[in-house]
Amino acid sequence: MLSIFRSMWLVFKHLGQKRQTVLYPEERPVLPPRYRGRIVLTRDPDGEERCVACYLCAVACPVDCIALAAGQDTHGRRYPEFFRINFSRCIFCGFCEDACPTWAIQLTGDFEMAEQRRENLVYEKEDLLISGPGKYHEYNFYREAGVTIRGKDKGDARQERPPVDIRGLLP
């Protein structure tokens, strides 16, 4: 019996306590820096697309919401011919970001993506691609990897020595 009155009193005291609610449109919640929101495709510091169309994100995606097709430019650099994310399926797990070997696909802190029509939630490459490098400012995949592309020959990459001339006699 007493415990009933006690719990009523304890609940009553909550009238004067601080509200937990964040009055959203007027007040913004503070999001943690690693918040997983809208997915973007980033560019490297040179302004080129980072994505090399390796399909790892599409494979990692547990809800199969990523679709893309690989293409190659005349210099052998791979890029996605189209890149489509269906955000009405996406669960924002961030597996695609984890899977990406070039840090091209990244999740951002933006979550305000509500749409009146479901079709508008399908984002094409133009919608996904941003002009900057996202969270990783310096990283440039083609400058680290040993692949030959335009403007970079074998051995030109960072942390790479010039290739050994296997036919030469010098030590």
Partner: protein, 319 residues
């Protein structure tokens, strides 16, 4: 002629204000529950969210009003009306202030008890006619609960009747001029209030509804305004129990400074808030616990209260 006109005006005003109260209670309950749970509650529609009621009304009137093909149509349609009617009828005997009362029956309390017994039919019919397992369980629980709680609801009021020497509600209020009856009748008040919660099927005694076990109990199959009527009935029931508690135990319109009606409304509002606080703070008991509480605790308490009150009155009268 004057008397008839006066009665009509009274009936219209009281009916209107009770319907408004029932509607505003939706807002009050959601708001207060929110505040008690460290939230805000509805605060978007209009100032302080007051127009939420209007939004809810528009919503519930425009919903599809669907009667399931397996339901017993006639009974299904009638039962939500019964609960609203029977609780509204009881308001005829509530004395809001001296003279502001639709009809001052000399058996006022008995009339209220009769009407509140009728409201169980609504729930039982709704549960039965829905032809749904959950509804049937809810209806059965409601019948058992209300029948067993009715017994000592009546008994707990008899102490008040003895003290006031009247079944008339205005007479009972007048008899409290020296002392409000909740002091000499504290067990009676507690028993009546708990029985009142059980009668209105409010938390913690909302076993007929019990969302977590019976989906929504007796009104699983109801939609649109029929569902709304059950809620209106529930809110009117809360108002009725609060008003009666005030009239029977807390001196009705009596009080200093303010006009009598204001006192009555203020006290009623206090009990309405108490109903909501109870909902926010107490868990629902198991069904057998409810029955044990009713028959093994409340009934003996009411009987004992009756016996002691009667004994004291006998001693005082010197017989």
């Amino acid at each position: 002629m004057d008397g008839i006109l006066r009665t009509w005006v009274l009936v219209t005003v009281i009916f209107g204000s009770i319907m408004t109260t029932a509607a505003m209670l939706i807002w009050l309950e959601r708001r207060l529950l929110g505040l008690l749970q460290d939230r805000y509650g509805p605060n978007r529609v209009g100032p302080l969210g007051l127009l939420q009621v209007g939004a809810d009304l528009v919503k519930i009137f425009t919903k599809e009003d669907w009667v399931p093909p397996f339901a017993d149509r006639t009974v299904f349609v009638i039962s939500p009306a019964i609960i609203v009617l029977s609780t509204l009828m009881s308001f005829a005997i509530i004395p809001f202030a001296p003279g502001i009362q639709v009809v001052d029956l000399n058996i006022g309390i008995l009339f209220f008890l009769a009407m509140s017994s009728l409201s169980v039919y609504s729930i039982a019919f709704a549960g039965w006619s829905s032809n749904n397992k959950y509804s049937l369980l809810g209806g059965m629980r409601a019948s058992a609960q209300m029948i067993s709680y009715e017994v000592f609801m009546g008994l707990s009021l008899m102490g008040v009747v003895m003290l006031a020497d009247s079944y008339e509600l205005s007479g009972i209020v007048r008899a409290q001029e020296k002392m409000w009856f909740f002091l000499p009748q504290l067990p009676g008040f507690l028993v009546f209030f708990m029985a009142g919660i059980a009668e209105t099927r409010r938390l913690p005694f909302d076993l007929p509804e019990a969302e977590s076990e019976l989906v929504a109990g007796y009104h699983v199959e109801y939609s649109g305004m029929k569902f709304g009527l059950f809620f209106v009935g529930e809110y009117i029931g809360i108002t009725l129990i609060s008003a009666l508690t005030v009239a029977l135990f807390f001196g009705g319109w009596l009080g200093p400074w303010l006009p009598p009606v204001a006192w009555f409304l203020l006290k009623t509002l206090f009990f309405l808030c108490l109903f909501i606080l109870l909902r926010a703070s107490l868990p629902r008991p198991r069904y057998d616990q409810l029955m044990v509480l009713g028959w093994k605790v409340m009934l003996p308490l009411a009987l004992l209260n009756l016996l002691i009150t009667g004994g004291i009155i006998l001693l005082r009268s010197g017989a």
